[in-house]
């Protein structure tokens, strides 16, 4: 490598191919290797709902975007390098490539038939296109087939290795070694030495192929190492981080972890991950439906567990009635909603923030509960932990909103020590307490006490019917008014136990950008770039949604121009307006099943500043 190496703060690589071409794996291996060699990373899988849509169609295209470098907040807008394993992925993904990007295609797949299936009526590689991008027409299929045949492998085996050839090219272009991936292959196929040998050979062949290509030599990148706080790091997806946060909360609180859930995209991974950890005491129950998922969790909560259920939008709809029961019985419960595009089945594999109203209001009666939102794949760990802490200490259901982007995406995670996490003190009743009453409340938090079946002398009944503070049923009008007030006040008082909302960017800015939940990456970068370009933009990002931090109004009232940015039609903006009607707010909304791009946000902010 004697070339002019292009030094960059960060680059974006996008792997695209047919479902089953191994693009998710290529992306993961590239991001792992990058992280281990000192880059910060963020990833974004973009895959179809179908497991194997018809071969070579646009519907079957699966993508995985990796953003590596220094200070990586999001998975990046457009890519510097695009890998397209067939005509359909080339056609549908070229729009994600920057002008001048290197585009690697498997030219062997560009047959008449495949191009027609992808919707091409003429040669896709026009002169105009060749001028706009550095297109590398690599014969990936035939190279891989030659190696496979030489090693005596079967066709169906070596066909699965094409992604390794592409990965080899990418490793060469990004100046990385193959050791990491070889080690992974040796672990994964430990019992199949033939497969290890084949994959390693194809990976090296891709690397060597790139070495011989002139066009690639002018596109070799060296990406800055990340400047990160000292500590031990790992790569983690949001869904795994969520699962681990719950495990940590269980250990710290001393309450058994129970998860009652039903498979649903994109939340299933939370249950899948916890299912592996019975050894750590995780009691996972795959229920017969979403309703049984939450109801089993409510039963487990009554019996004394740190009880959780994980789901996505349609599942949350099914859980609505039971959530009301958890509100009424004032039991601790964590509901994880990994949001996806809605309504109804909507866009199961795509991200959105459109369950906010459902989380805040989606129950019959006056049914307040706590809502919090994670804002990065890695901090899903802390927000899951925090949701459990709030539930156990305040005796309330808590909805944790994450989304498909955070849940499936991955990031570097600085590994904490469980002992360093904030303590969790469940509000357990004392056996044989003669003064125990089911709805006796802590005067500060208004939380009731948790008396568990098995505790002597505290037998009592809970249920969906209104009760009086001593426990028995009551339809008394004044009592209902009092209990309704108490349930609301308990949730309101959570605000006394959460930190103040912070403003970043330029706090004296002319514009306040407001975000919440999973959009923090793109918003942070957009605000940072604007300020670097001399504009004055302030930014505040919400994780505590209900109740809001106590200083929220003070912040909002300071700015003449406010824009609330979210991946829905303005649910958080509407929520803020009901509480702070004196603050005029603009909105920037996107409902395309896609995360924000930094570019579109900057355009929006620039326009508002100019008004």
């Amino acid at each position: 490598m004697t070339d002019n190496i292009i030094k960059k703060n960060d680059i974006v690589v996008r792997f695209a191919g047919d479902s089953g071409d191994g693009m998710q794996l290529s992306g993961t291996l590239f991001s792992d290797a990058s992280a281990l060699t000192g880059n910060d990373i963020a990833t974004f899988p973009d895959y179809p709902a179908e497991i194997r849509a018809p071969h070579n169609t646009i519907a079957g295209v699966s993508g995985y975007q990796v953003h590596v470098g220094n200070h990586i907040y999001s998975s990046g807008d457009k890519c510097d390098i695009l890998v397209a394993m067939n005509p359909a992925s080339f056609k549908s993904n070229l729009k994600w490539a920057k002008k001048g990007a290197t585009v690697i295609v498997d030219i062997d797949t560009f047959t008449e038939e495949a191009m027609t299936k992808a919707g091409y009526t003429s040669d896709p590689f026009t002169d105009e296109l060749e001028r706009a991008y550095a297109i590398v027409k690599a014969p990936i299929t035939s190279f891989t087939a030659n190696i496979g045949t030489e090693q005596g492998a079967e066709k169906k085996t070596y066909e699965k290795c094409r992604n390794m050839f592409a990965l080899g090219i990418i490793f060469y272009m990004t100046h990385k070694k193959l050791d990491q991936t070889n080690a992974y292959l040796e672990r994964k196929f430990a019992k199949k030495p033939d497969v290890i040998k084949l994959n390693e050979a194809v990976l090296s062949a891709g690397y060597e192929y790139a070495d011989k290509l002139e066009v690639i030599h002018s596109h070799i990148y060296e990406v800055s190492h990340a400047e990160m706080p000292k500590g031990r790091y790992r790569n983690i997806t949001g869904n795994v981080a969520t699962a681990w946060g719950l495990l940590a909360a269980s250990e710290r609180s001393g309450r058994r972890l129970f998860l009652g859930s039903y498979p649903i995209t994109p939340a299933t991974e939370v249950m899948v991950e916890l299912s592996k950890h019975k050894g750590l005491g995780a009691r996972v129950f795959q229920a017969e439906d979403e309703i049984a998922g939450i109801c089993s969790a409510i039963g487990a909560s009554y019996a004394g567990a740190l009880a959780c259920t994980s789901t996505s939008g349609p599942g949350l709809s099914l859980k609505s009635e039971a959530l009301g029961l958890a509100v009424m019985t004032e039991l601790p419960l964590v509901v994880v909603d990994v949001q996806r595009g809605g309504p109804s089945t909507g866009l199961p594999t795509k991200t959105e923030q459109s369950d906010l109203n459902q989380a805040l209001y989606g129950r019959n009666g006056e049914a307040p509960l706590v809502v919090v939102a994670a804002s990065s794949s890695a901090n899903c760990f802390y927000w899951a932990y925090n949701a459990a802490k709030l539930a156990l200490e305040h005796m309330t259901p808590v909805i944790l909103l994450t989304d498909g982007y955070l849940g499936n995406g991955s990031q570097l995670f600085r590994i904490p020590k469980v002992a360093d996490l904030p303590s969790i003190t469940p509000r357990l009743a004392t056996p044989n307490d003669p003064d125990y009453r089911p709805f006796r409340r802590d005067p500060e938090t208004f939380a009731r006490e948790w008396a568990l079946p098995g505790m002597e002398g505290l037998s009592h009944r809970v249920g969906g019917l209104e009760k009086c503070p001593d426990g028995p049923l009551s339809t008394d009008p004044e009592n209902h008014a009092l209990m309704t007030y108490n349930r609301q006040e308990k949730v309101n008082r959570v605000a006394n136990y959460i930190p103040d909302q912070e403003v970043t960017g330029n706090p004296d800015g002319d514009l306040l950008v407001v975000g919440w939940g999973g959009t923090a990456g793109a918003l942070t970068l957009a605000v940072e770039e604007m300020n670097n370009e001399g504009k004055k933009v302030a930014y505040t990002h919400f994780n505590y949604i209900c109740p809001l931090p106590k200083n929220t109004g003070d912040i909002l009232r300071k700015y003449k121009k406010i824009v609330v940015c979210e991946l829905n039609n303005g649910q958080f903006a509407g929520y803020l307006r009901t509480q702070f009607p004196e603050c005029p707010m603009k909105q920037y909304n996107k409902v395309m099943g896609l995360p924000f791009e930094v570019g579109e946000l900057k355009d929006c902010f620039t326009k508002i500043l100019g008004e």
């Binding site: 792992d32 281990l36 000192g38 990340a226 990160m228 706080p229 000292k230 500590g231 031990r232 790091y233 790992r234 681990w244 940590a248 250990e251 058994r256 129970f258 950890h277 019975k278 050894g279 750590l280 005491g281 009691r283 129950f285 229920a287 017969e288 439906d289 309703i291 049984a292 109801c295 089993s296 969790a297 409510i298 039963g299 487990a300 909560s301 009554y302 019996a303 004394g304 567990a305 009880a307 039971a322 029961l325 019985t329 590994i415 904490p416 020590k417 469980v418 079946p453 098995g454 505790m455 002398g457 505290l458 037998s459 009592h460 009944r461 809970v462 249920g463 969906g464 028995p472 049923l473």
Partner: protein
């Protein structure tokens, strides 16, 4: 696999009074629920389970008010979901003796899915279905067990819904314990419930219960004193299936189906009468017995009681095994597992 028992035994003897709550019982006078409550209160002392470990879970409906009338831990939940809530409670703490109480609409209409899956799993739950063949609390609409053609508030021209037989449902889901009781014979109900409590796995007890107000005498054709002996048969394990006022009728399997015969007529002797075996794994005969009606007497008592490792035991064995052999001893181990690196 070693059989394990998870519910601790009481060190003292309880009486019925220990389980009576101070709440006023608000069912209609004459409702069959009063008798079922009494049977249940008589059952608890016989189970010898620690009182504070007993949990009553119910759904919604007249019968689901029962937790308020029993002085144990109780959860009066939402319509149809009692099984799911009970499942979670038992999983969180297997030391609880969990009782699920539901009506026919609660358990087989809105809660049908939870019931069949609870039965399929065979977790250690004691389920009682109060079957009055009507929606009582909403004042008289037909339920999944209402007789075909019956006129109710929502079937003024007669129902055209074919009813469920709860026993068939339980057998269909490979249930391990099914019994049928009558509200008007509370002593037998207590005996049946006591046996249900000692069954390791899901037990389902259907109690034929009368709703005086909205479906009075729905079971009278079999439960009236004048006909009861001839229209019902109390099954006992290992004993011939004899019934009738004169104790001279019996059930015979003719190679194709069950039939009622009279001993001493047409050359029938006691040897022709089937002997009840509640432990047969195959559901065939139990299904036939549960289905008996019309010409055949309705079967009362424990129809099926089969040994099959309970979900509770399988779950706890797996948890113990995983915790004893697991790679990670604490969450810190997990956080630091796999590829990690120092910066």
């Amino acid at each position: 696999m070693a059989e394990r028992h998870f519910v601790p035994k009481a060190e003292c003897e309880y009486t019925k009074a220990d389980f009576q709550s101070d709440q006023m019982v608000k069912w209609c006078p004459g409702c069959g629920d009063h008798a079922i409550l009494a049977s249940l209160l008589n059952t608890f002392p016989k189970t010898h389970h620690k009182k504070e470990n007993i949990l009553m879970v119910s759904g919604i409906g007249c019968s689901s008010r029962i937790p308020y009338y029993v002085d144990t831990y109780g959860f009066h939940s939402i319509h149809g979901r009692a099984c799911a809530i009970a499942t979670g409670a038992k999983l969180a703490n297997p030391a609880l003796s969990v009782w699920v109480n539901m009506g026919d609409g609660d358990s087989m209409a809105i809660g049908g899915n939870h019931l069949i899956h609870a039965v399929r799993r065979n977790q250690d739950l004691n389920i009682t279905i109060f079957n009055n063949e009507i929606y009582g609390l909403t004042k008289g609409q037909y339920s999944p067990t209402t007789k075909f053609g019956q006129i109710t508030k929502t079937s003024p021209f007669g129902t055209i819904d074919y009813p469920f037989n709860p026993g068939e449902l339980v057998m269909g889901a490979q249930g391990t314990f099914f019994a049928r009781a009558l509200d008007c014979v509370p002593g037998l109900t207590t005996d049946i419930m006591t046996r249900a409590a000692s069954h390791d796995g899901t037990s389902v007890v259907e109690v034929l219960q009368n709703c005086m107000i909205f479906n009075d005498k729905t079971h009278a054709a079999i439960t009236d004193r004048a006909v009861r002996d001839d229209r019902t048969i109390v099954l006992e394990h290992g004993k011939p299936m004899i019934f009738g006022k004169e104790k001279n009728k019996g059930i015979r399997f003719n190679g194709r189906c069950l039939e009622a015969v009279t001993i001493g007529e047409n050359g029938i002797t006691l040897d022709d009468i089937m002997v009840h075996d509640e432990t047969t794994e195959d559901t065939g005969i139990h299904m036939m017995l549960a289905r008996m009606c019309g010409e055949l007497p309705v079967a009362i008592g424990v129809i099926r009681n089969v040994k099959k490792t309970s979900y509770t035991q399988l779950y706890e064995d797996q948890m113990d095994e995983c915790m004893a052999t697991g790679k990670y001893k604490c969450v810190d181990d997990l956080l630091n597992s796999g590829d990690t690196w120092e910066v």
